[in-house]
């Protein structure tokens, strides 16, 4: 990955991609959202644990790094979600059934995506993009919740010029305990 500063045009293009994605997800247009995903997508929400603080690392930033708390796909731990296109398709299919009870009535979500930072580009033109989000969740009969987190994405160039497909997403949730009604959302 190269790490040169993204051009203003590129930054604009990518920000627009994220706004469009957020509009689709909050608008419950999951089928349209799926079209933004690469067929080889990996969609992951790592578990977030409370590891021992290593005293030997004291004084260094690494001592309290977020990475230490994550149980992701390559860890020996237990991710909350670890999914491919097949799983996402199953979720989307389910969302449009009346007996998907945890979403009937569906939740009302609104997310603000910000801090969109293009961190690099590989030889095939895939971009590594990190961003942050706040998502407000309300569902009839239930309390409201705030989901906060970070997305660590890889956007691969699509067929058409300027198009991008989501190839990798790791969602780092900033939670002390999982007290949300569901983590089955598309975050």
């Amino acid at each position: 990955m190269s790490t040169t500063l993204a051009s203003p045009e590129r930054q604009y293009e990518i920000e627009q991609w994220y706004y469009r994605e957020a509009r689709m997800l909050d608008g419950r247009q999951y089928q349209s959202w799926l079209a933004l995903c690469h067929p080889e997508i990996r969609y992951v929400i790592p578990g977030r644990g409370n590891p021992q603080v290593p005293n030997r690392e004291r004084g260094k930033e690494d001592m309290i790094s977020i990475e230490r708390e994550l149980e992701g796909v390559d860890s020996d731990g237990l991710p909350i979600r670890d999914e491919t296109m097949a799983y996402l398709m199953l979720r989307v299919e389910r969302s449009f059934k009346a007996n998907a009870w945890s979403e009937n009535p569906p939740a009302r979500t609104r997310r603000i995506v910000g801090n969109i930072e293009i961190l690099g580009e590989d030889d095939a033109g895939a971009l590594s993009v990190w961003s942050a989000f706040h998502l407000h969740y309300a569902r009839p009969g239930s309390a409201s919740f705030l989901y906060a987190g970070q997305r660590r994405d890889v956007l691969a160039p699509g067929e058409q010029a300027g198009a991008y497909l989501l190839k990798n997403r790791e969602v780092i949730l900033d939670m002390a305990e999982v007290a949300y009604p569901t983590l089955g959302l598309f975050l």
């Binding site: 731990g77 237990l78 670890d82 389910r94 009870w101 999982v178």
Partner: protein, 427 residues
């Protein structure tokens, strides 16, 4: 006047009051009568391979540290300092030389004894440290790597407590030459529900599947449960559900893992699972090799979801809240890459974001709402489906019924009622 236990569950437990699910006084009785006198699951030895390893656990609401002591033994200690009560361990799991309390740095060994009181260097007197170790869970025993603890010093041995559930659990464990392994930390999530409903769900309520999960579970899978499903109660509060596949059924139809999508994605995992099933007649015998498991329960709050290989514990957090823990379990002898794939069989479908289990969390939350409403106390919940239709079986230990028979739940509530009644008049 507090509610009387015998008014909550009727003589054959075909009726169970809504109060059983919501009343704070009954919850206090549950803590003493059930959680004070049962074997409670703590951890699996695969989580504690090295000296000094520890994991956190709960016994009801009491925080426990489970450690692999330098003496080679497993210890279960209440995570609370003898000085002012702070937890002495904050990490979920790890390896420790000792536990140091944050407040005044009292220092405890991983076996729980108090090793140092730093303040003493400025004092003349010496405190008897032998009485001030972390409080130990008085009974800790293991079966097949499963570590249990009990607050009841007089409780029967774990082997007797598990009884014939060992035979049913071994139908799975015994398939793998090195047994099973727990991976990582459990998924833990908080649900606004009573702890007993997740328990009941896994103890024998496989018949909610075709209904609650109709959006995801295909009708063929449900048909197999209706036709070949068995529900077993080995002792009140313990239960197992599975399909008993016909003799000579193709390996793929019986083998664990073939129902999940994860196995569809990797042919080498297919081969591994088929191999395991091919050996099952030798490893667990002809009858148990035909068992294709669904869900199990061990009284009071341990569940085993064979189909997606998770062990679960339903930790009460008051009458209307539960902290649910769910560990992925994999064959210990499988290559690491396979373990990660098999882990997906659990994480995609179960847990707080699980495609299936999000519906369960929803149902359990909604049940709490029904259990807390006014003006319906004269309408207890109906537990009478299949009353007295269960029978002993020539081959399978315990009482056996079809999966629609709710005898697993009636038996649970009979044991629950007696356990609470035994303490309700204690001062």
């Amino acid at each position: 006047m507090p509610i009387r236990v015998h008014d909550v569950v009727n003589h054959d437990a075909s009726l169970v009051s809504r109060k059983a699910w919501s009343d704070p006084h009954l919850y206090e009785l549950e803590k003493r009568g059930i959680f004070g006198h049962a074997w409670l699951f703590l951890a699996h030895t695969s989580q504690l391979p090295n000296l000094g390893d520890f994991v956190q656990a709960y016994m009801c609401e009491t925080p426990i540290i489970v450690t692999h002591g330098n003496d080679g033994n497993i210890h279960a200690l209440i995570n609370s300092c003898s000085h002012r009560g702070l937890p002495v361990c904050r990490a979920d799991r790890g390896n420790a030389k000792s536990f140091v309390c944050p407040y005044h740095n009292w220092n405890y060994s991983v076996e729980g004894s108090l090793q140092a009181i730093p303040q003493e260097q400025h004092l003349e007197g010496r405190t008897d440290r032998s009485l001030l170790g972390l409080k130990r869970v008085p009974r800790v025993e293991q079966w097949n790597g499963m570590i249990f603890g009990s607050f009841d010093e007089e409780i029967e041995p774990l082997d007797d407590y598990l009884g014939d559930m060992r035979w049913y659990l071994d139908a799975f464990f015994g398939r793998f030459p090195k047994g099973i392994e727990f991976i990582g930390s459990p998924q833990r999530w908080v649900i606004d529900a009573n702890w007993k409903l997740p328990v009941e769900n896994q103890l024998g309520d496989v018949n909610h599947g075709p209904f609650l999960h109709a959006a995801v579970i295909p009708p063929e899978a449900n048909a197999e449960v209706f036709e070949l499903g068995r529900s077993v109660v080995t002792a009140p509060g313990h239960g197992a559900t599975f399909r008993l596949m016909p003799e000579g059924a193709p390996l793929e139809q019986v083998a664990w893992g073939f129902e999940g999508m994860a196995s569809l994605l990797a042919p080498e995992v297919h081969d591994y699972l088929r191999e395991v099933q091919a050996r099952a007649i030798e490893s667990v015998g002809p009858l148990r090799s035909r068992m294709k498991g669904l869900t199990y329960g061990v009284f009071p709050n341990l569940s085993f979801l064979w189909s997606n290989t998770a062990f679960k514990v339903s930790h009460p957090r008051g009458p209307g809240k539960v902290e649910y823990w769910s560990w992925s379990v994999v064959p210990a002898d499988a290559p690491d890459a396979f373990k990660r794939i098999l882990r997906g069989n659990h994480t995609a479908f179960f847990g707080p974001g699980g495609i299936l289990e999000q519906e369960d969390s929803e149902a359990w939350t909604q049940q709490r709402i029904g259990s807390e409403i006014d003006f319906a106390d004269d309408r207890p919940y109906y537990y009478g489906l299949g009353l007295n239709e269960e029978k002993p079986d020539p081959e399978l230990p315990g009482l056996v019924g079809v999966t629609a028979n709710e005898f697993y739940a009636r038996n649970f509530f009979l044991r629950w009622r007696d356990a609470l009644a035994a303490v309700e008049d204690e001062a």
